[in-house]
């Protein structure tokens, strides 16, 4: 058993795949940090140190610092992918997709489809999601529901170091554009992560806990909030089936529907906003295909429909917490 951080797990997946396949390249702003300066070459290793050490092993032909020009370098990554490389490109904060939205949703997502399946875009976009650092609403959003809207993109929301390594490995090997959403509050979380390469298939929800009273579906960091809530509830005699979909496209609808069939109750915990999000998407799925099994209304535990405030006390109120999940479950169980 080897305890590793989420950060190390991602780094290992990158190293593992770059060693395994010479077509894998890495690009983004400061992925090495220090290009062109006369100081250290790999001074930073990514804005949060995730890609540290890759430059020295793989060289500047495969680890490329880019200017601040997301539309340009993500477009270039798409082109390189279509031409046979497997670029892993760092979009830093997912909020920055605003400046390269066209490249991501009109180019990467549709390159294969609109050209009748002639090509593929084996591209991985790593990007940070999540609130909790008091850095306000242009650096704290969770936009995976936006990406999930677009057919042609695959969207991953790993909630643990083990999942991060396995899913990133699958993402790099996958032949489609994949958005890999790293929650910035998880980078220091540790877990047992094998040294070997391994891959986790897309579209398989992780079942973290088995119970018969309620189904809780939680995504990304909210998985940990829900886990804690489930432990509190278990002490009250309420046993939850806790599912982490891990990938929002493809979505493991079967596991969610099966679980709700057994429990009759559904609570969804999502850090993305309440409108047009994964919580509403999953609620709609169960309302359409699992209505007959429901014994209580579906409850979504999400932030309110507001931008994210920087003030620490307000941000804490914005992010769903254990108490809100516990309360929601009690409500559906008592219904």
């Amino acid at each position: 058993m080897v305890l590793k951080t989420y950060r190390q797990a991602i780094n290992e997946a990158l190293v593992g795949e770059m060693r395994r396949d010479a077509d894998v390249i890495l690009m983004g702003e400061d992925v090495a940090g220090g290009a062109g300066g006369s100081g250290e070459d790999d001074a930073w290793g990514g804005p949060l140190g995730v890609t540290r050490g890759l430059l020295s092993e793989f060289g500047s032909d495969r680890v490329l610092d880019t200017p601040i020009s997301e539309a340009g370098f993500i477009g270039a990554a798409i082109g390189a992918a279509a031409a046979g490389l497997r670029p892993v490109v760092d979009l830093m904060f997912n909020d920055f997709v605003g400046v390269c939205f066209d490249q991501v949703v009109n180019q990467a997502a549709k390159f294969r489809y609109m050209f009748g399946g002639q090509d593929q875009v084996p591209l991985t976009i790593r990007t940070m999601i999540g609130a909790g650092l008091n850095i306000s609403s242009q650096h704290s959003q969770s936009l995976y529901p936006v990406f999930s809207y677009f057919a042609g993109l695959k969207v991953l929301v790993p909630s643990s170091p083990y999942d991060a390594k396995g899913l990133l490995t699958s993402a790099i090997r996958d032949n489609d554009p994949v958005i890999f959403c790293e929650h910035k509050l998880l980078y220091d979380m540790v877990e047992d992560v094998p040294d070997e390469n391994y891959s986790i298939p897309f579209g398989e929800a992780n079942l973290l806990r088995e119970g018969q009273d309620v189904t809780i579906v939680a995504l990304s960091r909210m998985v940990h909030v829900a886990t804690e809530a489930a432990a509190v509830l278990a002490r009250e005699g309420i046993e939850a089936d806790l599912l982490d979909p891990r990938t929002t496209t493809p979505l493991d609808t079967e596991s969610i529907l099966d679980s709700v069939e057994a429990t009759g109750r559904l609570v969804i915990v999502d850090e993305a906003g309440p409108r047009c999000g994964m919580a509403s998407d999953i609620a709609a799925l169960v309302a359409e295909d699992g209505f007959g099994h429901l014994r209580a209304p579906i409850v979504k535990v999400t932030p309110p429909h507001v931008p994210i405030p920087a003030a620490p006390n307000l941000e804490a109120m914005y992010i769903p917490d254990v108490a809100r999940v516990v309360e929601a479950v009690r409500r559906v169980v008592a219904y």
Partner: protein
């Protein structure tokens, strides 16, 4: 509904006007900015503030020179490294400290944080964390001046990193076509986050890019308040007179890392020391001494009075309340239009 530009905090407005014709006040503001950022770093280091913060140590002359040159009716759209320019434009120490600490008396009530300072009353429209956004927005402000037939000039302040993003080029093209009353201020501190400017562009000086859009440009000594003030004054008048935009490249240097977590290991040994020799505070002190405007005792007195003000402002910021829950839901939407 347009924003109301007449809501200046009287104290902030006084602070802004104080720089206009008073070199001693400019010197004092340089000192104040340096000390205030040091205090802000203490907030973070001690865990009283968290999130991140971007300091401008070494770049104070650019901030103070811009504020000294521009009348308070001109509007600034600036980058995330905003404490210096915010304080130069007049934001009070307390409002900057409180915003870093997430208090209601912060410049945006604690909702924005360190890098989103705003005080429209003194012309600080907003500070931006999405690189380059302010360049297009300032152009829009200039366009508004044209439509409204105002003699207001807008200023976009951005870093060297922003000159590679598309919106910089898009905005320069439009500004040139429209002869917009805007001044583009490229604050070249030589590093975009951790990457040296030479690694991400093949053109030197960067300002030469303006040629491709038919815009005049100039490289300015960003360590010297007087040089910045004088170049900016000309550019503002050029724009105000209807002659269109100018790109000013302020050559300066960031003493510290990109953000509070950055030790700046990517820089070569000795590089910072060279710039320290031309520290903007040193340069200005030497000038004032040479002109016999101040004595050494005056300079010490300034240091002391700044320190006292900072201590008082920090105390005030700490004693201000944290925002109530209702603040989270305020200003999501503009008020309903009047019937």
């Amino acid at each position: 509904m347009a924003i109301d530009l007449n809501t200046a905090d009287p104290e902030a407005l006084r602070r802004r006007l104080a720089l206009r014709d008073d070199p001693v006040q400019r010197y004092r503001r340089l000192v104040e900015i340096r000390a205030a950022e040091e205090r802000i770093r203490e907030f973070h280091a001690s865990g009283q503030a968290w999130g991140t913060t971007h300091c401008a140590d070494g770049q104070e002359a650019v901030a103070v020179g811009l504020a000294a040159a521009a009348p308070p009716t001109d509007l600034f759209w600036v980058a995330h490294r905003v404490h210096a320019i915010g304080l130069a434009l007049g934001c009070t120490l307390e409002s900057v400290f409180a915003e870093n600490l997430g208090r209601t008396t912060g410049s945006v009530g604690g909702i924005g944080g360190s890098f989103h300072l705003t005080d429209v009353g003194v012309g600080l429209i907003h500070s931006f964390t999405i690189i380059g956004t302010q360049i297009a927005q300032a152009l829009g402000g200039a366009f508004a001046s044209q439509v409204l037939d105002s003699d207001r000039v807008t200023v976009a302040v951005f870093g060297d990193g922003a000159t590679n993003i598309g919106v910089f080029h898009e905005a320069l093209n439009l500004a040139s076509l429209w002869k917009a009353p805007v001044v583009f201020v490229l604050e070249n501190n030589h590093y975009a986050e951790f990457t040296h400017v030479d690694a991400v562009s093949t053109v030197t000086p960067l300002a030469r890019r303006a040629d491709s859009y038919g815009i005049p440009w100039q490289v300015v000594d960003g360590q010297d308040v007087e040089a910045v003030t004088s170049a900016t004054t000309s550019a503002l008048e050029h724009a105000r007179g209807g002659a269109g935009p100018t790109l000013l490249e302020m050559s300066t240097y960031r003493y510290l890392g990109h953000s509070r977590s950055d030790p700046a290991a990517y820089r070569p040994e000795g590089e910072a020391e060279v710039w320290h020799e031309r520290d903007p505070i040193k340069v200005e002190a030497a000038r004032l001494r040479a002109l016999n405007v101040v004595s050494d005792a005056d300079l010490s007195a300034i240091d002391e009075s700044v320190a006292n003000e900072i201590a008082a402002a920090a105390d005030a910021a700490f004693s201000a309340p944290k925002p109530p829950l209702s603040a989270m839901f305020t200003n999501v939407w503009a008020p309903e239009p009047a019937p």
